[in-house]
Symmetry: C2
Subunit: 232 residues, 2 copies
Amino acid sequence: MEIQGLPGRLLADLGPAIASGALPEGTVLRAEELEQRHGVSRTVVREAVRILESMRMVEPRRRVGITVRPKGDWDVFDPLVIRWRLAGADRSAQLRSLGSLRVAVEPAAAALAARCADDDDRRELSALAVELTVTARAADLEAFLAHDIAFHAVVLRASGNEMFAHLKDTVGAVLTGRTEHRLMPHRPREYAVQLHREVAEAVCAGDPERAERAMRTIVVGALEELDATLPD
Amino acid sequence: MEIQGLPGRLLADLGPAIASGALPEGTVLRAEELEQRHGVSRTVVREAVRILESMRMVEPRRRVGITVRPKGDWDVFDPLVIRWRLAGADRSAQLRSLGSLRVAVEPAAAALAARCADDDDRRELSALAVELTVTARAADLEAFLAHDIAFHAVVLRASGNEMFAHLKDTVGAVLTGRTEHRLMPHRPREYAVQLHREVAEAVCAGDPERAERAMRTIVVGALEELDATLPD
DNA sequence: AACACTCAAAAGTATGACGATTAGGTTTCG
DNA sequence: CGAAACCTAATCGTCATACTTTTGAGTGTT
């Protein structure tokens, strides 16, 4: 999944540095300096910079250097950019954006899933709803998180829309992030778990409206909790 | 916006070739072959391949070559991937996916816009609604398209959510695509134009429910028209 | 002050050499 | 005969260097 090799390591250094604001908009890097500071060759620097350029985070210009572009230009849907931002300073803003995106997408995905899911999807969803209930009662946060991520991933996949399906990692990152940073109740709320069961039932019953409504309640609740908990 | 230089040209060759299915999943390319076939150096080939790798469209492996990855792995949110797919064989699938995404996102964006838009946004939106009406009456498809794109871009931006805002180019690509391929009525429907005015009014009045409802009618209508018109 | 000219700085490209990894065949041993 | 260890060649990965192209900025001329 990661970019491999030395360019990958350079990227893992530069990306977070830019995303965190340590290298703010307008900062000018020079390729030769990067070579020396990281002890790598021209080739490696160029490949890493090319990738950052394709994410629209930097713009190399002759006679000038490699300039950091304004945040507004970045490819905010790129998985790497999302991860870097979640790890850095504007984690709050990123979480809020992703929260709104979830509110828009996941209810629609649930409705589609109720229409399009095949038998395997439905079985898997039911099983995960059970697992969620069990791990919530046991207050096993780690297992709960894993099943929660899997649950939302199945709904997104079952929607039959490839773009929705690809948001699974993003949603997973959000759920992981908020658990890691203690942004959620110490033990899963029974009400939330019940809503997940509701989604599973509605999808199995082929009831789009009910699935959509239950999922909306889930993600709206998550967003409100986020807004209430986030610092700034 | 485009990737510059020779790697950009190579990318403009390889990307569409993969996206269109001319180089199907599992195809193995060799760097040296690409050098010769395109008359460029290793440097150039490597940079282009690195970018494709970051889009998860290819995977270079030692002793094997550069293999084309299955479609399911691609970064379907990458603007370049979207453009390549829209230009190629699975244009239909791409348009459908994007249609569903619009149905999910744009109503939510309209609701947020009704809450968050500043005075400039509201003014701009009203002006664009007027322009839409005028150019629709004149059956000036080209101008209508431009204003339509601008209209949706303003709504997305005014939502205050950076991720929504970034979908503006994507939505623009969809609108352009369907006009180019005669997938819409020969002249804009009065009903659709009226709905745009309704969105503008609701946003200006700060009425989220009304804005959301009108926008949903627009995008659902567009999706249904798409489904009715698309070949397969 | 406006314009043209020059120069040097930085990225862009090409090339040859070498290193590292690994698929697939070959040998060896049980 | 089969399996495990071993070797080999193919291919990507990295480095170092030289050269080319673009372009911002300074210089000087009108």
